[in-house]
Every structure is written in C-alpha cells, then in structure tokens.
Symmetry: C2
Subunit: 223 residues, 2 copies
Amino acid sequence: MWQLYQFPLCPFSRKIRLLLAEKGEPFELVRESPWQRRDEFIDLNPAGQTPVLVEPQKGVTLIDSGAMAEYFEETIDKAPMIQGTAANRAEIRRLVAWFDDGLYRDVVAPLIEERMRKRLVSRDAPDTRVLRDAMRVANSHLDYLDYLLDHRRWLAGPALSLADLAAAAHLSVADYLGGLDWRGHKQTKDWYAVMKSRPSFRPLLGERMEVISPPAHYDKVDF
Amino acid sequence: MWQLYQFPLCPFSRKIRLLLAEKGEPFELVRESPWQRRDEFIDLNPAGQTPVLVEPQKGVTLIDSGAMAEYFEETIDKAPMIQGTAANRAEIRRLVAWFDDGLYRDVVAPLIEERMRKRLVSRDAPDTRVLRDAMRVANSHLDYLDYLLDHRRWLAGPALSLADLAAAAHLSVADYLGGLDWRGHKQTKDWYAVMKSRPSFRPLLGERMEVISPPAHYDKVDF
Ligand SMILES: N[C@@H](CCC(=O)N[C@@H](CS)C(=O)NCC(=O)O)C(=O)O
Ligand SMILES: N[C@@H](CCC(=O)N[C@@H](CS)C(=O)NCC(=O)O)C(=O)O
C-alpha cells in the first residue's frame, strides 16, 4: 500500500489525499514534520518537503504533488481529474498552478508560518501585519473563484477536476487557520459546501493538528 | 502560429522555447516585461506572469509553463520529453519541479531581481549579501547535478527529457547574470556544453537583454 508522508495542515498532501480517495486507491498516513528536517526524510526527498509517497512493494517513490497527480491520472482510469480536450486539460493545470503557487504563497504559507509553525516550533508571536495581508489576498482569491463559478459549474469547466481538489485543499487549510471570511462569497461558499460533503473530504475535516483548534464552522457542511 | 509572450531572461519562457524548438513547432516571440503590469497582459493572464502562449487561429491561450509542456507532449508526437514508464515520467516531473521551484526561487529569481530588475527598473544598487547567498546555493545545485550525472546519462535517466531542458533554461539565465562558477563541476559542465551545442539552444545564446551583458564565456560551447 502507498504510504503518504504528511502533516495534517499540508495543503499539497491534502490535494493528494483527495485525489487518492476519489480514485479509490488505498493509502496510509505517515506523520512527517518537514520543519524538523529529519535526516531519513531528507534522504527520501532532498527537497525536504511533504508530500512524499512510497510504495515499498513496487519500489516506487513519488515526490512533488504535481508529479503524483499526473502519475495517478496515467495509472488509474477511475475518476479522471485531468480530463477533456488538450485545451481543457491545460486550463485545469493552469488553475492548479494558480492555487499551488499564488494562493499557497500569498495566503496559505503565511498563515501556516504565523499561526502554526511559530506556535509549534519557534514560539514567537504571530506578525499581525503579515496575517492581515494574507487575509486581504485571500479575499481577492475568493473573488476570483466567485468569478469562475459565475461562468462554470466547476472551477475549470463542466466537470469536477484536479483544480477543484487543489483549491479545496488550500482553502481548507486557510479556513482551519482562521484566514477566510466567507461573507459576500456565495458562489464559492456553495461550491465549497458541495466539496465538503464529498466522502473524500470527510477524513480531512475530522482531523486535528496538535495544539491548534479550527474555528467552529470549519468542519460543518452548512456554514 | 503560436505567439510567445516573454522577455529574454525569463527561464520559464526559455524552457518552452527549447521544448518547441526540439519538437519543431514554429512560434514567434512577443516581448513582454511582466514587471510593467500592462493592463492588456493582466487581462490575458491574471497571474501577470510570463510565459503566455496564444494561437489566434485556434483560439487557444496557454498559461503556466508546466501546463504548456504537458499540452505539447499530448499534442505533438515528435521528440517526446516526458517519456518512459509512469515511474520514469514521475522522476522527470520531480526534477522539473525541483528546478522550477527550488533552483528558481533560491538562485535565478534573486539574480534577476538584483542584477536585472534593480538595474532596469528601480535603479537601486544590488544587495551583495543576497547575491552571495544565491551563488552559494547555485554551487550546491551544481553539486546535485554532478551527482545525478555520475549515475545517469541525462538528468532524469537514459534519455534527454524536459528535466534537461528545465535545468539548462534556469542555468543559462543564472550564467548570463554571472551567478555560476563552473570550476569543480566537470560532469555538469560537460552536460551543459552538450546542451549548448543543440540547435534548439542557439537562438537563446545569441540573444541579449538590453543594458546587461553576459560574461565572455556565456555563449561559448567550449567554456
Ligand atoms: N512543489 C511541492 C511543494 C510542497 C511543499 O511546499 N510542502 C511544504 C509543506 S505544505 C513543505 O514541506 N515545506 C517545508 C520546506 O519547504 O522546507 C509539491 O507540490 O509537492
Ligand atoms: N509557474 C509559472 C511561473 C512563471 C514566472 O514566475 N514568471 C516570472 C518571469 S520569469 C514572472 O512573470 N514574474 C513576475 C511576477 O511574478 O509578477 C510558470 O511556470 O510559467
């Protein structure tokens, strides 16, 4: 079985957990805290980042959530998540990059740094200016999702795709860390309620990161 | 014909230029300076980044160099660059992410900021500490390439792949900006000499960014 090295609030691991669950591919979780820079983990992935997937029987190690997603698209027919014409597929991958690069860098990474890593590791107080900026940019990302959903049933087009899984993974971490204000974002809120009610999403919503509690609405499908 | 929005020292555009040339797909260059944040360009790509590819006849717009690479792999059979078994393909994509994320963030982006953008746009003096750090990390990246090439003919395995194109694209920008010291990196130097002598690489080496001159060895195959 696949072993997924991850920690509960890693958005890239969440994206892969959603993907594997949608495809019905079994996996087990191995807790890894990349900020500890464990020697054995650096040997596994010289980039020192989660997620990493290992299949000991097959002798396969997968690194980088983008490479993982393409691997499972190529090897599992069930529940295609990068589908349609070549142009549709390019649009799905554009949006995944938009979330994995921009949304992560400007919103999720600063929230993880200020509200998780500082609390767990360095025990510094969070920088309120950084938090304010992250929440401001989060709001403009929610505006962009509203705009997409005004024109499309799912984020990248008529079908559920990896773009929806990536966006939901990042937003769920931002939401856990109190970084999202859902008021005024009805389209995205409705879409996120549907994502939350999928069986693939349940295990994520039930999980907790030590010491840090999410806001009350976090795991509610009706929020 | 494809129109590629780019500027001469954008490494992601260089990767796509190499890919299109290897595949024999014609394209023309359109100069875009993303730091100017031109309204029409933001309308084209809300992320405001180069490269962007537009095919007016087909009505296709491609954004994000990763999405572009997958698109051309899917639509052009010639010169496959993400090839082999699913595990080989995952290794190619792992390395492309390693270069596009880590090598870009720690080496190429700071060199572009300090030696290009500050010179052209803000006219500030470069921060020598930032430059020194970038060059130190560049050296450890060259060590990692040496290590890969001790075990493999090309970076990701027995065949030329997108990993080689991505690495060469980023290194060529770092080299143009005087950020690489090749001494002590014989394996990578030999590999880079082979890359430089490919017809796909010639147009890049002949091109100049206004005001900024590369070191004398930059465009020499024997360096
Ligand atoms: N491109 C990688 C990014 C993974 C990533 O940034 N992981 C974070 C945790 S969510 C990490 O390990 N950060 C620690 C570090 O970069 O040192 C992927 O898609 O898998
Ligand atoms: N993920 C993008 C990254 C592109 C990128 O970072 N482009 C740089 C130029 S090399 C840029 O446009 N930077 C300006 C900005 O980010 O505002 C890709 O692979 O195409």
